[in-house]
Amino acid sequence: MFSFSQNIKQETDSDDSVSMDFDGTSKSPKSRRTVTPNTSQKPRKRKEDNDGEKAPISKGKKKLKKADDEGEHTTAEQGKASGTKKTSHYFQYLQKKTGPVAPGSKSIPVGAENCLAGLTFVFTGELESLSREEAQDLAKRYGAKVTAGPSSRTSYVVVGADAGPKKLEKIDQLKIKTLTEDEFLEFIRTSPTRDNITTSKSSKSTKKAKAVEDAKMLVDEPVKASSSTSNLQGPVAQLWVDKYKPQKLTEVVGNQAQVTRLQKWLEQWEANLRSDFKQVDKNNLAYRAALLSGAPGIGKTTAAHLVGELQGYDIMEFNASDTRNKKAIENAIKIATSNRSIAGYLQSETSKIKADEKGKHKEKTTPSKSNKLLIIMDEVDGMSAGDRGGIVELTSLIKKTQVPIICICNDRQSQKLKTLVNICLDLKFQRPRVESVRSRILTIACRENVKVPPNVIDQLTSSARSDIRQVLNMLSTYFLSAKNIDYDQGKALSKSSEKNFIMNPWDVTAKLFSKLTWSQSSNLTMSDKLELYFNDYDIIPLMVHENYLKHNPARAQRLAQEAKSNVATKLYAMDFFSKAADSISDSDLLDRMIHGTQQHWTLMPAHAVTSCVRPASFIYGDSIHTGGYGGPYSFPSWLGQNSKAQKHQRQLKELHSHMRMRVSGDKTEVRLSYIPTLAPELTLPLVGEDGIPKVIEKMDEYYLNREDWDSLMELGLGPNTANRLLSNVSTKVKTAFTRKYNSTTHPVPLLGVATVNKAPTSAVVVPDIEEAAEAETIPLEDENDGEDEGEQDIGKDKYIKQKGSNVFKAASGKGAKSTRGRGGSKSTGSGRRSIGSSSSKARSK
């Protein structure tokens, strides 16, 4: 019991945790029933808490300083004893060292329990025998706190090889004590248990710690009582989760702001209903419904129920276990809302009757409670597939509801919920902080009379990502078979029920290229590395390709240091880059086999190796870019470049199909040979307005339209890019050119559109049977195309008349023979129908 309260004391910095602890213990149902003095003592403790609030930071510092002194003392002693070099020199020595020594070369000491309690450790660089994770584990096991970066609160920094220069700088600045790995291990071995030290301090200094202990003592009594009662019922009469469900709003862990807001919303709901939900106050609570969103297990449903109950609402809950399609919701709610008054009436009637019959029972029925109805729509993002129209119905229901509705979902970003978000009060629940979860769980553990060290709770909480429900479930099942739990067991427990969560591509890329992933002491297996790829196998290979050039390969640096030549550095680096590029090139071949016609999905692991793991194994190391938006890694530019290339391909295809009448070459030839000549020919004359007719004439000659002119500008390179071609062309001339082009008529390369309007005789034309079939399958897009070109077609007809272009004349004159291919390009709807009918006529003939 003593050491237990001791552990809590370490965290006196976090005030809310303590107060939460309090509330949780004092207001739980059982304690309320059994211990009466508790409530009277509560305010006093609160006050103390508040008093303590101002002090803790300075006191915490004091404490840390003392710990530091102590630490210094021990290290100094140690240094003398073992006769090693001074730590500052040891850095450089370490930095020069190449490669980590084989893991497991040092024996891991067994220290006294909690020998590092109250100390804060930072680890940097590669340790010789321990991986980063193992080292952090070790520190945590003995009660230390481990943080990522050094700060003024850090007691010790354990420095390994290749430590980050920034960190070292900061360490120097803050004058934090540093330890090598050996010293760290020795420190653990020799440090005494810190129970004595810290308790003596606590008795000296913090009132707050005292208060905590007092609370513990008080809590203890009811626990004994309650556990004895629960023992009568059997070991698990109720799940812990239900047993310790919050009974008051203050008992909800975290998200206090949201819960209060929800409460206010419900309070004002009736008033808002009367004012027809006009937004009047700045709190912005005038909504007919509220939408709670957030990760699972953080108390959304609990909060919603609690708020409703406390304000005397009857709660009607729909969740994913109910059918929630349009009709079902409609019915259920109609019944519920229309029955409301009657239900209340009936209940009060029955209570009256009951009261008449048996007067004693009267106080048990609470008629005031049944007047109001609150609908909780749980798991609304689960409304899908079977619940067709569910969300729509819910939305329309909310718009005219006469009762408050609370919707609960996990994924607020979901496309389905978009309409819902706009009409609801939006309350986003965050994952509660580890500290606040810790205190709540400690209270529960205390009441269940089991011993759970705080570092175990932290471990469980962070591995469950603050899912209180999961932590409680894990612990309750664990304690069915055991009486206490230590750090290692906790770790095993959390490992066994670890949640799978998807890492984002940036984190994956960072992890792949991190030196720690590839250091010899890393405990990541090959399949762990493959797993990284499977987080998102579409984007991660592209991320690797995008970012692999932005590293200084650590392997090359190591080799070059051995070779000691400047050329060698470059060569080694280049060697690794080339190997990585080759591997990525291999991966593309596999990608083709996976996504091509053969669909060899079994090759995915091979693709994972070649596209991500192998390239990363060559060039892991420090990034040459630091900082910037989204860290040193950028989003794959391949995606953008690819869509750009595809757009240009489409433009080129269009261009080619227009030029086809004049040009014999294929698409590629048009790009490779024609465009370099055409682009300047169509721009250079535009120096003055005199050049405009010349340009237009040439465009007409090749059936190019104004859009083609633009795409010609886009397709160029070097001197043929739009910037350089149009450098001498003033905007005035350019607009004149556009105006001129639009005002004149031009030939249109695609035939068939015009002849429909022109010659109804074409309907008499007997098309080939297969063409008739084709005419019926004319797609919509084509119709649109036809309409777009409608204006130009008329122009084209004029053009034919004016110039008497032999090509068009021949084609339209010999319409009877040249029906081939025209069926596909009938433009308007009517044209299409006429063809359809004509073809059916043809067939009947």
């Binding site: 060698a568 090139s585 490779l672 032999n806 025209r822």
Partner: protein
């Protein structure tokens, strides 16, 4: 006013200035066909059968084709018989771009059908793929022939070859003034057709011989499957020589009455690498840009060639991480400007080999280029392979320079 290349494009076989013997042969092919049918004397048949069956391909069909083609030159010794069906074979015309394949095909068609083939129109055919996606295919046609590029449809090219060809094949020529009862289908980029599409051609080519002749046009026969090759008469159109190009260019400049220096013309001809179309176009570009008097190295180089040259210089100059990022950007620029990846690789490799200072490096560059060109064909994402190639070259440069192995 069209560009010179289209303005001076010959449309008659006798106007063709390059490969005159080939033109002559094609003309006889057409003319003999007018006599309808070739009948071989027994003795000659045996003689030729002996000569060709053993030596050339194993396929009898191919042998007969070769035989009949050769025989046109010996028409004195064969007897002609009248027949209802004319026997113009399917053609497979191949050769590098800008050597005059298409021009020649049009000339042959003109010879076959008369001036009617020059009256062409352009329209769009719609295909419904099995997955109900509608695909458009641009079709150029006259009354006598139709020209398609099924490879435009990508993976759906089989649809085009199956549906379109059958459509055409199942109907007879209905033009009363047509000289032949068959229609001609020109299939462009035949080497880019998928295997499935090519296979679908096989039976059609035989079954509908009565109504249909196919002229396949491609750069290389290596990607055309053997059954197709054996069904066609192969006609190779080699690239014109430098002298021939110079001759044509001079001719054009005379007709256009522009005064051009000898050096300019030779340089343009050299840079064209046997592509007559490109030569004429770049000559015109040089004239349009008023660069005729310049003696710059870049005269006659197209924009993309110049960009690749620059890239080669960058690679050879410095082999650092910065260069690698720069190289990547350049590759992206080229790819998005619709330059085919294999063209980029080829041009870059040649340029690197030309500029490399260490002789031992040159063969290695070409070897690596061949290796990665193969990968380009097998893979999807061109940039990966281009990058891998250029980094390999950069590594080789460093390796050779440092003298390490």
């Amino acid at each position: 006013m069209s560009l010179w290349v289209d303005k001076y494009r010959p449309s008659k076989l006798e106007d063709l200035e390059i490969h005159e013997s080939l033109s002559e042969r094609l003309r006889t092919l057409v003319n003999v066909l007018l006599c309808k049918y070739v009948y071989l004397n027994d003795q000659y048949r045996d003689a030729f059968a002996l000569t060709f069956c053993g030596i050339r391909e194993k396929s009898i069909r191919a042998n007969l084709m070769i035989l009949s083609f050769i025989l046109f030159d010996f028409n004195a010794s064969v007897t002609f018989l009248q027949s209802s069906s004319s026997d113009f074979p399917h053609l497979l015309v191949y050769g590098p771009s800008g050597s005059g394949k298409k021009t020649r095909i049009v000339c042959v068609l003109r010879e076959l059908f008369g001036d009617g083939v020059l009256k062409i129109k352009n329209d769009v055919r719609i295909f419904l793929t099995p997955s109900r996606v509608k695909k458009q295919l641009v079709v150029v046609s006259s009354n006598y022939h139709i020209e398609v590029t099924p490879s435009d449809l990508g993976n759906y090219d089989r649809q085009a070859t199956q549906d379109l060809l059958k459509d055409i094949a199942q109907t007879q020529q209905i033009a009363p003034d047509a000289r032949h009862r068959f229609k001609v289908v020109i299939i462009n980029e035949a080497d880019l057709l998928s295997r499935e599409a090519q296979a679908s051609l096989r039976r059609t080519m035989e079954k509908y011989m009565k109504n249909l002749r196919i002229i396949l046009c491609c750069n290389s026969t290596s990607k055309v499957i053997a059954p197709i090759r054996s069904r066609c008469l192969l006609i190779r159109v080699p690239a014109p020589t430098n002298d021939q190009i110079v001759h044509v260019l001079k001719d054009i400049s005379k007709k256009e009455s522009v005064n051009l220096s000898e050096t300019l013309i030779t340089r343009v001809a050299e840079h064209s690498h046997g592509n007559l179309r490109k030569a004429i176009l770049s000559l015109e570009a040089a004239v349009a840009r008023n660069e005729t008097s310049k003696t710059d190295d870049k005269i006659g180089l197209t924009d993309w060639e110049a960009a690749i040259e620059d890239l080669a210089k960058i690679i050879l100059l410095d082999q650092s991480q910065q260069t690698m990022l720069q190289v990547r950007t350049k590759f992206y620029e080229l790819i998005s400007a619709c330059i085919p990846a294999s063209t980029i690789l080829k041009t870059l490799a040649l340029s690197l080999a030309k500029r490399a200072k260490i002789p031992a490096l040159k063969p290695r560059i070409l070897m690596e280029a061949a290796f990665y060109e193969h990968r380009l064909r097998l893979g999807n994402k061109a940039i990966f392979h281009l990058e891998a190639f250029s980094f390999k070259i950069m590594r080789l440069i460093l390796l050779f320079e440092s003298g390490m192995q």
